[in-house]
């Protein structure tokens, strides 16, 4: 074997898998205010490309606020003000020239409660690709719908009811429908804000299984109150407390031997 190739292979295998390879999203001194309230304080974090990163922390710690900064969902809250920089692929997403609609196509979002459009299963998925002009023909559109449903692990269950209302599906199916809807516009990043907290354990397991598959193709950021879920699905974990990012690292490290006492106290159930 060529020496150079051999060396490259060696380098590739000696790299610590827990270290982020490429950075997808960077937060630099991010602050968020709701009116007078300083909700997010000087957050610096790097989110690696591909894989799952979990944000954990007690209610009101700022984790959801930070998540919503990543696709500028906070813009919709009039009292909310964000300072600092958030870079996606090294581009500042708060620059004035940015088209927020395009940004939100690249950065999809799934919410706590599944909210399908009051339309058919098919239309729920087809809506966004159509308005973004991603399909040139009806066949193109059908293909996007089927592929998205398959990727979200829902196709087999709904293939005979594509034209029934999306709201008629079970909670877990609706949530997977929302994931299919998010990936229909080929995003890079999927934000999930407690995607399983309204689901039963089996539906939760299906979503977790789905995340396991999706993490090879997408950068997934999940906010969860379930520490076990964060430990199961993520490769990196960040712990927020009182608006600051206390500690961030490989999920293994955070759950086995966190460095900060506050992290340890939170994950072991000593502080809420």
């Amino acid at each position: 074997m060529d020496m150079a190739v051999q060396r490259t292979l060696q380098d590739a295998t000696s790299i610590d898998p827990s270290l982020p390879k490429a950075i997808k999203v960077s937060g630099r001194d991010v602050n968020a205010y709701y009116g007078e309230k300083h909700a997010l304080k000087h957050v610096n974090v790097d989110i690696p490309d591909k894989g799952v990163m979990a944000f954990i922390g007690p209610s009101g710690c700022g984790k959801s606020t930070f998540l919503r900064c990543i696709n500028r969902m906070n813009d919709t809250i009039p009292s909310c003000r964000v300072t600092g920089k958030i870079l996606i692929d090294n581009q500042d997403i708060y620059r004035p020239s940015l088209d927020v609609v395009q940004l939100r196509a690249r950065v999809g979002m799934v919410f706590q409660k599944p909210k399908p459009f009051p339309k058919s299963v098919f239309e729920n998925i087809a809506y966004a690709p159509r308005i973004h002009g991603l399909a040139r023909s009806k066949t193109d559109l059908e293909e996007i719908v089927v592929t998205s449903l398959k990727r979200a692990g829902l196709f087999e269950e709904v293939k005979d009811r594509l034209h029934d209302p999306g709201t008629g599906l079970s909670g877990g199916q609706q949530q997977r429908l929302c994931i299919a809807r998010a990936i229909s516009v080929a995003p890079d990043i999927i934000l999930m804000d407690e995607p399983c907290s309204a689901l039963d354990p089996i539906a939760t397991a299906r979503i977790e299984e789905l995340m396991e598959e999706l993490r090879n193709s997408y950068t997934i950021v999940i906010v969860t109150h379930s520490m076990q879920q964060a430990a199961r699905v993520s490769q990196r974990t960040a712990f927020f407390h009182l608006g600051t990012l206390v500690e961030e690292g490989s999920t293994e490290m955070i759950f086995n031997s966190p460095k900060d006492q506050r992290t340890q106290d939170y994950i072991t159930g000593r502080i809420g």
């Binding site: 520490m227 076990q228 430990a231 759950f255 086995n256 031997s257 966190p258 340890q264 106290d265 994950i267 072991t268 159930g269 000593r270 502080i271 809420g272």
Partner: protein
């Protein structure tokens, strides 16, 4: 350390430590009595050792059950998980320590009729004393969560190994001198081997204490000097 929001979790963890302390105390007593029974050739004392080993076994079973239940109920992480896993492992090592001590006591029954020169017992006595001190230190290290103390125990085991080596040679010499010593010396040799094994279980506990405190395992190889498995004494 802060208390858990769920208080009963703290109580359960305390109970684990209480039982480990109990087991440790029993194991220490068992080893001391086992040696006494051998030295004094007292089969009665030997029998009582065999009986109290059952108490250690019972505690181990209780700890096993409790730790499994706690993992299922509380889904512990970080230091709590390390704590529970450490208890489970230390309980296993103490149970084995009890078994090995019991085995020494059983030999008291076997050698009670043998001719018994006192000098033969000196080496074994020193080994027992050292093993007892190590056991006590490691149990203190656990109770105090003192990783440095545990590390000290871990390093000290080499001394037990060294004593075992010299005792091994000494006993072989006695056997070669007079074949009538073979019966007794073989039992003493197994006794010494048991104590050497107890030393190894003690270092296991020390490693677990270190892991409990630091969250990382002891990386380097422990200094070992038991070379009896490759030793032969030839008649010159």
């Amino acid at each position: 350390m802060n208390e858990h929001i769920v208080k009963s979790f703290d109580q359960e963890l305390l109970l684990l430590d209480k039982k480990i302390a109990q087991m440790g105390g029993l194991a220490e007593r068992l080893l001391a009595q086992a040696f006494d029974s051998l030295e004094k050739r007292d089969p009665k004392l030997g029998e009582s050792v065999v009986a109290s080993d059952r108490a250690i076994d019972q505690l181990e079973r209780e700890l096993q059950e409790q730790t499994i239940l706690m993992i299922a109920r509380r889904q512990p992480v970080a230091n709590d998980l390390r704590h529970i896993m450490t208890v489970l492992k230390i309980a296993g090592d103490l149970e084995r320590t009890g078994d090995l001590a019991k085995n020494i006591a059983k030999r008291a029954l076997a050698v009670s009729g043998e001719n018994h020169p006192k000098s033969l017992m000196t080496g074994l006595k020193h080994m027992t004393e050292l093993a007892l001190r190590q056991l006590k230190d490691v149990l203190d290290a656990y109770a105090e969560r003192d990783a440095d103390k545990a590390l000290g125990v871990w390093r000290h085991d080499e001394q037990i190994d060294a004593m075992y080596n010299s005792l091994f040679r000494e006993l072989l010499t006695y056997m070669m001198e007079d074949p009538r010593n073979i019966g007794l010396c073989t039992h003493l040799l197994f006794g010494a081997k048991n104590i050497e094994r107890i030393g190894d279980h003690t270092t296991n506990i020390a490693e677990n204490v270190y892991y409990l405190v630091h969250g990382t395992t002891l990386a380097d190889d422990r200094p070992k000097s038991d070379d009896t498995s490759s030793t032969l004494i030839r008649r010159e």
